[in-house]
Symmetry: C2
Subunit: 216 residues, 2 copies
């Protein structure tokens, strides 16, 4: 497989939680001392112009995030080598059943269902890393029906990309086609059926739009 085919052939999605200070505050969570992550199944992917299915009784929050597409298998990857394991990037949304997540957090149960519904990971096209000036200088935004809800910069990540890759790969092997979600800036909130979501990823060095992602 090629990393560009991650949507079809990738095996896992590893998502970092609480990686932007303003978002940690808005959910009244504690600032993490080290990165932590959860898994999402690749059956949760939908592509551009897709439809998110919100099950009855679920409050589904949008979390716009920068995705790292893994290009080279590795375990115990040192921070200095992390960049060599990344083939490119993707604009993604980590949809979250917030009311289910709140309930399982209280009970000490896994997050897998709250994060793992089919259609809960809208994702844009593969962006080859040669097109990106600096992955820590990207603007990430999300609008609902034209109103901006999230507008952040990857410069604000608490744990930077090399640290994230080092941490995850100290526990599990990263494989070609895996997607790593790097956390969401503040402004998360509910999405309702019938609303249109538009996300954008902008290279703030070159001023170029790297990706856009629309879903319903």
């Amino acid at each position: 497989m090629s990393a560009a085919a991650f949507f079809r052939h990738g095996k896992k999605i590893v998502a970092i939680g609480r990686n932007y200070a303003e978002h940690v505050k808005e959910l009244n969570n504690a600032l993490p001392q080290e990165p932590f992550f959860f898994l999402k199944p690749t059956t949760s992917y939908i592509s551009n112009e897709g439809y998110v299915e919100i099950p009855r009784g679920v409050i589904a929050h949008h979390e716009v995030e920068l995705g790292l597409v893994i290009g080279k298998r590795g375990r115990d990857i040192a921070q200095k080598d992390a960049e060599g394991h990344i083939a490119g990037y993707a604009l993604a949304v980590d949809m979250t059943a917030r009311n289910m997540q709140d309930a399982v957090k209280k009970k000490g149960l896994p997050w897998s269902a709250a994060k793992g519904f089919d259609t809960f990971t809208p994702v844009g096209s593969f962006i080859d890393k040669s097109l990106v000036s600096d992955p820590h200088k990207l603007a990430l935004s999300l609008k609902i029906d034209g109103t901006t809800k999230q507008d952040g910069t990857t410069a604000d990540m608490i744990f930077k990309i090399p640290r994230i890759i080092e941490h995850i790969s100290s526990i599990m092997t990263l494989e070609e086609g895996d997607l790593v979600l790097t956390g969401t800036p503040s402004g998360v909130g509910p999405l309702s059926p019938g609303e249109t979501v538009e996300c954008e990823l902008l290279d703030t060095v070159s001023g170029k739009q790297l990706s856009s992602l629309k879903f319903y």
Copy 2:
């Protein structure tokens, strides 16, 4: 791919928690009102005669389990149709970093790291379902250095296989090659470096051994 190649080509492992009453008691957990599950990455697989790597500071518990190998993709699978989505079975061990799991449960954090280390899912060969008289009449056992630690029967599952398949697939699509772990009977405990683990799966109707699995 064929389901028999799940070890190499499968995308996800979905593991049910607390599905045997005696095991729920031994960990002082609450009996679940409905099934719940967590995800393990397929990078955690090791095959027969493999080595489990226990990271420094981790107390790694063995949990011997019946695995269901999915043979046919499905979403919202009705209980009456569940059997048609199962290609076969596998004897598996859900290794668990118990001290890490206890810590994240208290904080309401995901279980993914505690369950997801490389080598934390030893698994035996694919068993075609035609070889199994009744998946709810299997004996599951685990010995450490010749001493029996777990000795249960799949008859004691709280949630039976059709209910498990119905529940998981109400949230996420099950795909060919996915492995579903159905929970562990009582007797879980720590594994230390240098110890040898031997597991067995026995058909109690025919009296035949369906699988054995050894690891270190």
